[in-house]
């Protein structure tokens, strides 16, 4: 192949590369050196307290927690946060026996969350479409905010 032809081929291939070039390297989130933490729900026959690190759930001794599951994509799984607000903490689905047992929900509440006026919300699954409703009477002490509510789906929602 003579020099001119080689050069032409190189020009054509370079132009093809320029056209197919994209900016972003597909990078699976959090697939790094330490394996990702498996999102396994905490289950049991009759749990009184479940510590999910970012939140603790407790029921009366007469009731039972059957399962607490972390919801990694609350907006996709349920509905987005109310307009103008955002999910600032983890979202959990708490299943109890009886189904409507009263649960004390305590979220870790560092200054970063207080600055965003973050509040504990419960998903109203009876409404169509579902809607996040703030649980009143939150008590924020020593870096923790707690409320009492019927079992369901809970999240910490505040300003973005």
């Amino acid at each position: 192949m003579n020099r001119k032809n080689r050069f032409l081929i190189a020009v054509v291939l370079s132009i093809v590369l320029i056209f197919v070039a994209a900016g972003v390297w597909a990078a699976p989130k959090f697939q790094g050196t330490v394996p990702p933490v498996p999102q396994i729900p905490v289950t049991g026959d009759c749990l009184e307290t479940v510590n999910m690190s970012t939140a603790i759930f407790t029921v009366q001794p007469t009731d039972c927690i059957k399962e607490v599951a972390l919801i990694s994509d609350p907006a996709g799984t349920y509905v987005p946060a109310p307009e103008g607000l955002a999910f600032v903490g983890d979202t959990f689905k708490v299943t109890t026996d009886p189904e409507d047992a009263i649960v004390q929900v305590c979220y870790a509440y560092p200054p970063e969350f207080a600055d965003k006026d973050a509040m504990i919300y419960r998903l109203n699954e009876d409404a169509t479409p579902n809607v996040w409703v703030e649980i009143p009477g939150a008590d924020a002490v020593d870096g923790t905010t707690c409320v009492a509510s019927a079992a369901g789906v809970f999240s910490l929602i505040g300003n973005p």
Binding site: M1, R3, R6, F7, I9, A10, V11, L13, S14, L17, I18, V20, A21, A22, G23, V24, W25, A26, A27, P28, K29, F30, Q31, G32, T33, V34, P35, P36, V37, P38, V42, T49, V50, N51, M52, S53, T54, I56, A108, P110, E112, F113, D142, G143, T144
Partner: protein, 471 residues
């Protein structure tokens, strides 16, 4: 003269942009793990990187900057040596051309200034050393038998794999002849693989390190099972060939973009031109093999930072750029002044590019790790159990505790490693006061309950640090 300029230019660029301390820039989240393992005589994440640990420990004795800066220096030095070796390699291959020094110099400089290469020269990671060793493998293959013993040739390949396991993808090249023959005889191959085995034997230093129960001790390689788990990289087999097709296609497009970003449109044109100008077989086969296997590995490996595996691809490509330049200068052989002017123009283009690249590679102002550690040290109460998720956060805290000996009151618990027995054992002897529940898969709440009275903190990636009293 040319090597001196190479050292001065790359040294100047790297010294202005090197990370001054622990950094997360340029995919270097593992820095805290590697530094801590090197200084404590420990074993970092698979595959254990025994060669890197020895060299890093040597650099940690240099009395300038902090511990992380000294280890960052190793990467800068390795990259400069890789560029020098590339220069020497090309000089040998282009031995009959009057402008061979210019061509080799320009190619080595272009390599050292390619953004991905430059970035890896500034941080604590194994990839700068990996590039140097890959260049050493190419060099070893090209040397005649009278210059390098066959076992020594194999040794270079073996020792390369004790830094980064992907170097074993280069082993098939050992079947290539070095004196113009395509394949070597079985006797020569045996000698070379004997050399490989001797080089690989450095992995045996890992069980010895693990035996002394260092705080960073992945896999506890003092047991046979742990040793094979570690050196086989079993933990990361889950990342291989698991990428969805859409992501693979996206990565192919991104590769084209990266290539243009490393060497510009002109460099890419020259590289492709050089490749189809048919470099000699002794250059073409090894570089084509190296570029292909590392490109495929980078594309199909499912980790979030797999693009750093493209460094050997850039190295092969810049060798093709050199052959592109060679062909152009050969065409201008009877016009020496024009050739020199053109070489000068290429050099000027490389130099002019430096200030434009600088902001994107500069790690000298990356204080994210330092800020995270300062904040964590401030807000985490005394004697807390700290559950951590995320490479940056876990390894930075290891660096704080194991390398700098600060906040020794904290028990740092990497959540993602809790399912592994070796890690739970490691926690027991590192934090002797820690009560571990006798379960195969302890939940965080089990550990918290077994250690009542200690505050619990939770760190997940870049989310706020959450702490509460554990009653």
């Amino acid at each position: 003269m040319y090597p001196l300029f190479l050292v001065l230019i790359l040294g100047f660029c790297y010294s202005l942009s090197i990370a001054p301390s622990l950094t997360w820039a340029h995919f270097s989240a593992d820095g805290g793990d590697l530094i801590s393992a090197a200084i404590t005589g420990g074993v970092p994440h698979p595959s254990g990187y025994p060669l890197y640990l020895i060299l890093a420990r040597g650099f940690q004795f240099i009395p300038i900057g902090d511990l992380a800066f000294r280890t960052n220096l190793l990467s800068a030095v390795c990259t400069i040596f890789a560029a020098l070796l590339l220069y020497a390699y090309l000089l040998r291959q282009l031995s009959d051309h009057p402008l061979r020094q210019w061509i080799s110099f320009l190619a080595a400089l272009a390599y050292g200034l390619a953004p991905l290469v430059w970035g890896q020269a500034l941080v604590t990671e194994v990839y700068a050393l990996h590039s140097l060793l890959m260049m050493l493998c190419l060099h070893a293959l090209s040397l005649k038998e009278s210059t390098l013993n066959e076992w020594a040739r194999g040794f270079v390949f073996g020792i390369s794999a004790t830094n980064h396991l992907t170097a074993i993808m280069m082993f098939p090249l050992l079947a290539l002849g070095s004196d113009g023959k395509l394949l070597v005889s079985p006797a020569v191959l045996f000698k070379r693989f004997l050399g490989v085995a001797i080089g690989l034997s450095l992995y045996l230093s890992l069980p010895l390190r693990a035996y002394f129960d260092p705080p960073v001790n992945w896999g506890n390689s003092s047991t046979l099972e742990g040793f094979f788990w570690l050196i086989s990289g079993q933990l990361y087999h889950q990342y291989q060939f698991r990428l969805p097709l859409a992501d693979v296609i996206q990565r192919l497009g991104a590769f084209a973009g990266f290539l243009l970003n490393q060497y510009t449109g002109l460099g890419v044109l020259l590289g492709i031109y050089g490749l189809i100008s048919q470099p000699p077989r002794r250059v073409l086969i090894p570089t084509l093999w190296m570029a292909t296997v590392f490109l495929l590995f980078a594309i199909f490996y499912g980790s979030s930072d797999s693009q750093v595996n493209l460094l050997p691809v850039w190295m092969a490509f810049v060798i093709w750029i050199a052959y592109g330049l060679l062909d152009i200068f050969s065409a201008l052989q009877d016009r020496p002044k024009l050739s020199i002017s053109l070489a000068g123009l290429f050099f000027a283009a490389l130099m002019i590019r430096i200030p434009f690249l600088f902001p994107s590679v500069d790690a000298s102002k990356d204080f994210r790790a330092r800020d995270f550690l300062n904040h964590a040290a401030q807000v985490i109460p005394q004697n807390s159990l700290v559950f951590v998720d995320g490479d940056e956060q876990i390894f930075s805290l290891w660096y704080l505790q194991f390398a700098l000996n600060q906040r020794l009151d904290l028990a740092i618990i990497a959540e993602g490693l809790l399912p592994y027995k070796w890690y739970r054992e490691n926690l027991q002897y590192t934090y002797t006061y820690l009560m571990m529940p006798p379960k195969d898969k302890p939940q965080l709440s089990d550990i918290a309950a077994s250690n009542s009275g200690r505050a619990i903190c939770y760190i997940s990636h870049d989310e706020p640090i959450l702490c509460s009293q554990n009653r």
